[in-house]
Symmetry: C2
Subunit: 227 residues, 2 copies
């Protein structure tokens, strides 16, 4: 069985990506990062999702000595619908995450890395765009032992050009436990329903004509299971 490393973030995109990788016959090894983010809800969500999907999850602990983002620095407010790249951008975050995924993939002899990056319903982060992934693929060929030996490790971004509504429909079809995913930038008891991440999630569920089970469950009404 081909192995794949899947980057989990606890959100709905990465959970759907995991289920897509599984549906393609990959044995999945998940990764999440404990890098000083504002809250630990996303790590708990990733643990639950990996457990349900019956996949190994590795947590990489990084003590980042700098901040430079409102996702790392609680003194900076989370912005709402700003023009351009918002302060939630973490400098080089996906480059760091992918480089660890690559290290893990080489170590366990995995054939692919899956990441749930999405360049449509997103906050404008440059490291979510297709051109970044095209560039990253080239450093695998030139900078790794696998690449030097001609054993390519693929970077797969199955959601990159999908609307959030399409992602949700795919996830529902594959049985993604959306009720355990966490998208909100804030780490409250329930999603704030205001931040960019909550906004795109709500828009996606609305456009898909599905109630968000994370919210619906609390009202005793989860329509996603009916599809």
């Amino acid at each position: 069985m081909r192995k794949a490393v899947v980057l989990l973030s606890g959100g709905l995109d990465s959970a759907t990506t995991l289920y897509i990788a599984r549906s393609q016959g990959f044995r999945c090894f998940c990764l999440i990062f404990d890098y000083g983010q504002r809250h630990r809800r996303e790590i708990k969500a990733a643990q639950r999702i990996a457990q349900i999907a019956n996949c190994k999850l590795q947590i990489v602990k990084i003590a980042l000595p700098w901040k430079g983002s409102s996702l790392l620095d609680k003194k900076i407010n989370i912005p709402l619908r700003v023009k351009g790249i918002p302060s939630t951008y973490v400098p080089a975050r996906n480059i760091i995450f992918l480089s660890f995924a690559l290290s893990y993939a080489e170590t366990i002899n995995a054939r692919a890395i899956f990441i749930g990056a999405n360049a449509l319903d997103f906050s404008g982060y440059p490291d979510c765009r297709p051109e970044f992934y095209r560039a990253f693929r080239k450093i695998i060929d030139s900078g790794t032992k696998s690449g030097a030996k001609g054993k390519k490790i693929q970077i797969l971004t199955p959601l990159i050009k999908k609307k959030k509504a399409q992602i949700i429909k795919t996830g529902v079809r594959l049985g993604v436990p959306f009720e355990f995913t966490w998208s909100c930038y804030r780490g409250g008891i329930r999603p704030c329903e205001k931040c960019d991440s909550c906004y795109f999630r709500a828009k996606g569920f609305r456009e898909a004509g599905i109630k968000d089970p994370l919210l619906a469950e609390r009202q005793g009404d989860c329509s996603c299971k009916k599809i």
Copy 2:
């Protein structure tokens, strides 16, 4: 004063690179990684060098949950002069290091990242070759806020095509405190003088016609200061 992030490893290449960056008028911010390597001598060496050069040093602590290299796994012996890429290769190490350097550079608004990679007197690591750095430069343009805004962060590899002897001569000219650098893969009281890293260091000093002050100092005879 332009800022630069300099990757230090405690060895002579990275120390020389720091002094080259300083000589080019950069205000240098150094980085080293505590990632579970076999010994802590290289971290201590980097601390000493940064202190002498009067530069800030950040130590990034990473709890890597996998090994995959004899530099991380003490159960694997350090190989001596093997053909091809040796087991001291750490999967994706320079990609990980550069991605952190990039994150730090974006955060402090640095204009350049210096890394002392060398593709001549080296152990054959793919992430020390010029083609890897050419590829990495492209991900800065496509995957960072700085790149998206047209503010390029340069990756500079001043030693990439230099022989070890040339590096040593440059370092002596710039006043690099070679007596505090540490190259040996093993973490003994003194260098093993057997591993690849000791071999290339000794060859370099021999070809430069200079006694290694790290060894010479113990014999009360340090010729590097005489040049």
